[in-house]
Symmetry: D2
Subunit: 234 residues, 4 copies
Amino acid sequence: MGDTMTRLLVVSASPRVYGYSRRAAEFARRVAIEVEGVEARWIDLYDYKLHPCVGCVSDNVKACYRPCPVDDDWEEIARLVEESDVLILVTPIYWYNVSTPMKCFIDRLTTFENAIFVEGRSRLEGKVAAFAAIGNDVGAIAVIQNLMVVLNSMGAAIPPWALAYHESDDSPLRSDKFVLDMANVVHCSVLMAKALKGLEKPREWYRADKEFVERVKRIAEEVDSEFEDLIYSS
Amino acid sequence: MGDTMTRLLVVSASPRVYGYSRRAAEFARRVAIEVEGVEARWIDLYDYKLHPCVGCVSDNVKACYRPCPVDDDWEEIARLVEESDVLILVTPIYWYNVSTPMKCFIDRLTTFENAIFVEGRSRLEGKVAAFAAIGNDVGAIAVIQNLMVVLNSMGAAIPPWALAYHESDDSPLRSDKFVLDMANVVHCSVLMAKALKGLEKPREWYRADKEFVERVKRIAEEVDSEFEDLIYSS
Amino acid sequence: MGDTMTRLLVVSASPRVYGYSRRAAEFARRVAIEVEGVEARWIDLYDYKLHPCVGCVSDNVKACYRPCPVDDDWEEIARLVEESDVLILVTPIYWYNVSTPMKCFIDRLTTFENAIFVEGRSRLEGKVAAFAAIGNDVGAIAVIQNLMVVLNSMGAAIPPWALAYHESDDSPLRSDKFVLDMANVVHCSVLMAKALKGLEKPREWYRADKEFVERVKRIAEEVDSEFEDLIYSS
Amino acid sequence: MGDTMTRLLVVSASPRVYGYSRRAAEFARRVAIEVEGVEARWIDLYDYKLHPCVGCVSDNVKACYRPCPVDDDWEEIARLVEESDVLILVTPIYWYNVSTPMKCFIDRLTTFENAIFVEGRSRLEGKVAAFAAIGNDVGAIAVIQNLMVVLNSMGAAIPPWALAYHESDDSPLRSDKFVLDMANVVHCSVLMAKALKGLEKPREWYRADKEFVERVKRIAEEVDSEFEDLIYSS
């Protein structure tokens, strides 16, 4: 991929089209484009056909590789992952853990990581990863610590402040804390991706300056309102 | 269910028919029947059609109830759960977490727990739950601690010594430690179920007496050998 | 210990005498005595001199035993643990984990668990354990899942609904949800201890009936108000 | 600190002077100096007087700041943290968690992180952090995922492959896998620190080339042998 371009992929796994995790994901995408000036795309795994990993690697360590033999939409998703410098995972909190399709996504990423045993190097090595967990009860850290150590074990770099969470039955986009943390998940991820390409030398990471705060709050309001409309049209 | 009868359900989620998690699950079933003298059944979730939870509960807290509106094999599994006093979950370790179908099983159990909001009480309350995690790398405790706190949050009782784990690329049924721990997962679960029904007053829990050790090792050898045969016939 | 008597020990580890974890601990003690009618005691580990475990067991598996060679107040605490049927651990959330003295308590409990290698059986086997975590930010489940799997690995039984948590900068004793959950942590623990002694056969666990709710809310108000007074006198 | 210099601090928390965590820590220090060519220092927390955090921040958010009011050796340790670009934490696994002094170290680091509320920015922001966990039983990931999400929440960047673990009663320095992983924890941390200073543009991270492997294995053998000698002289 182009050395001077940064591409960000937001992956959520939320069943409801107007759900809070999808809002947070779309918010992240817009911050990436409008504030950070990078290319960004958002997908939700519930919109894809995705089957569980069948564990080929346990029979033959070289068998887990792309294209994955499971017949579903994985390769379509995999191409988006491949092209991205930054991966932001946004999951609802289901029983102090990720939702099922997010678990499936993680398991299927083994086709990237296991390139170690085929090509000598993980295909996620050096990509940047960051995380958000959203629920109406507790468990955010239990979820995020799992995702963080997993992506790191696959070779991803984790920028400072790579987590945002929201445990409430209100929209996360109406919480100033979440909005600023989520915007910084995007900001720090992009900054890290640029630093690793030698395009920028970070001096500070978390942004809480007035200009940034106002811009991201405006975006949060817009996105939240667009999703509220979805409730009535669905 | 009959007050003097104990029924145990082992649920595994392992893609390969000769896989190590399935061996551990079948071993648990046999120990339950042959050593503990209770009714026992084993299912593997990879043998069922199971779709992700669609989060009805987030729209309407009373909407998550049985029968679950997702059209798949859930109700068949749910009936087995309903009839059981003891639930033993056996999962492979996939990225320091459960496999995808086990995550799906957990999410779909919300139809039991959420009876709180419909009937006033979780349908898992007072059932006994215990756990095993099997992989060729680390992560067993990260997996088990999630399952344990989840099942407890759904109302299950956890007997002493409710965990067995195996992190190696050998068969768990060839490890004396795993075999004894797994047999005790079954033994302590059954003892707890009986104690909660007033049928038995436990004085000791973990069994390591010679008779027990020899019996369960013999069962482990038998089961392991049956599964080895599956490799060649598959 | 007397077969018909139930003794409960609440252990907190909170530095401030008017802190929220201490309030929750004292509330648990009072519910145990006033509602459950059992003997109960509360200690806070910050009031004891406690040094880190020095890992004798790594040199000699039989060396970790009581009395512990570390020269501090451990034996005094250990006697209280020994005499108890139920152990309720209440911890503040410090960095998605327990506070330092609670970690120290856990490590020093090895002197009980490791009796396996000296006497053939853990001295915690069959005791009942339950948990509460209190903080002004997230992390409760990360904390509780660690404590739960640890105590279970030491031989403790975990009753249904063995967890209460509070993530807010208000007093937990002013939260109806926390108060009811914490009271049920006590109730279910006592019920489990009685069931394991053959004194009672549980039919239902979580209590939300009006009488119970009103009694425990009154106790919560009293305890909270007593602790508020401590702020001004400290 | 000098923009072209990289300083690495290894912090372990292992009671025995010949213990495995100390060996891993000393190995990391030597790899940093001999292979990576950076300044490096190792301390073990058991060699310092360190008291539990007293939670000032809960009374007054601005009160937690350096110098910490707790009267012990913290400021001495804090100065080393302050001067470092890279922090490598090496902990024994005690009950699926860090040892007590490591927990204490984490809690006391709040004096760095909480500078957010005094100076507007965490004093750990942009430092690089990585982790190792060593025990003779399971739990490594449960430990590391807590440390990783905590350091990240304090503002640290996590390089790819920032974890090494060893669950065995042999020396980690005799395990080829651990030695290579631990050396890469150091290598990737230094590379990340340099990248964030604009001194280097990483193309690859994990090193498994023959030259690297041979050098770090030789260092591992030397360190292990030096520590074996300590057993006999202690």
